[in-house]
Symmetry: C2
Subunit: 218 residues, 2 copies
């Protein structure tokens, strides 16, 4: 099996950067395997065989299989929080670019996150473990769906107040804009499991932004 060496800046759950090469390798390979077979479908032996160490050695790095999973999602959470527009910068950014450009740049930022070879797999894990694991469910519902909708609602209400788009309920606009993208991201991530072409769904995302913008501009 191919090995991922494109490793991200992983951190331990206490905030310390993870530097030990084998510990990084454990993370990379766990993400790869969990994303394809699910947490319960992968054994410690599967992981350590791939890493090239004995199973007992894994326990020098992680207290349990659960802690390994938590560490992966801890890093995902950190990483996701960076792609949301920060409230305090919002005012300036919104004045300098058009709504259309802003939305297209946001989409590009999101796609960049999903296209990262490691993060793509963690997105897959998130969709996969949601139903089994309450923490993962919360990450999706709060950190992703909830936060994105809230921050977009803010954006739309600013535009409405400034008369840059048609008056409407900002909360509904945020939902209309974002929910299709969530569904399309799901399909996109799914297609990539088999390495199928994602051209159609990527086009769909761009068409959605265009359609949406055409309906809200003054």
């Amino acid at each position: 099996m191919a090995m991922t060496t494109d490793s991200i800046f992983y951190q331990d759950m206490d905030g310390k950067p993870i530097e030990s090469p084998n510990k990084i390798k454990i993370m990379d390979i766990s993400i790869e395997l969990f994303s394809r077979k699910g947490f319960t479908g992968v054994s410690i032996r599967d992981i350590t065989k791939e890493v090239g160490i004995k199973e007992s050695s894994l326990y020098n790095h992680f207290r349990s299989k659960e802690e390994l999973l938590s560490t992966i999602f801890f890093n995902f959470r950190r990483s996701i929080s960076r792609i949301l527009p920060q409230e305090d910068h919002l005012g300036g950014m919104l004045q300098s670019v058009s709504p259309e450009l802003f939305l297209k740049q946001s989409l590009a930022g999101l796609m960049k996150h999903i296209d990262d070879p490691v993060m793509a797999k963690v997105w897959r894990m998130m969709y996969l473990e949601q139903y089994r694991d309450r923490v993962v469910r919360d990450i999706y519902l709060n950190d992703i769906v909830g936060n994105m909708l809230k921050s977009l609602e803010k954006v739309f209400s600013i535009w409405i107040a400034a008369g840059r788009i048609q008056p409407a309920d900002a909360r509904i606009l945020a939902a209309e804009y974002q929910y299709p993208l969530f569904a399309m991201i799901g399909v996109y991530v799914l297609l990539r499991v088999d390495g199928s072409s994602t051209w159609d769904i990527e086009t769909g995302m761009r068409e959605h932004v265009d359609y949406f913008v055409s309906k809200i501009i003054v």
Copy 2:
């Protein structure tokens, strides 16, 4: 654990109706357990203990754990195919009701399927096993996403030709209408895992239909 006795008309994969009470019980309980812990997270012993038979007796009904899973999705597929509007009835139905009413009725039909206590769990299983199982992936991408988009595209193009809605690309309209619903259904199904309130997301679905209709009527 609560037992589901509200069982559907199950069929074997060769089309024969499943009538043996314990075989129905195995299906119901498997669906319950698989939907909460995933296929690999549930053992034959978990299932048979709940049914009240020995594990060897399960093999009087199913050749393997895999066949049990396949039978569940075989029945899901059958059930899903019934909620899509049939092409041949389409013409008559579209003339007699307004676009708004038609869309609201379609949504109600879909929600009824998801609200069925058994089918709700299989929807959850589908989202859960998608990444592990190619067949499930195909059910979602083709039977659900693909078919619904195709049939909606047909509907919109008929309306456009009849001048009942504003001219537009029917394919894009279908996507704009349906994708948000897919995402919202995902959230809806997820919320039901914990028994959380689904009021917000159900409202969101209705608001989406209203918003969408308001943007397409002539």
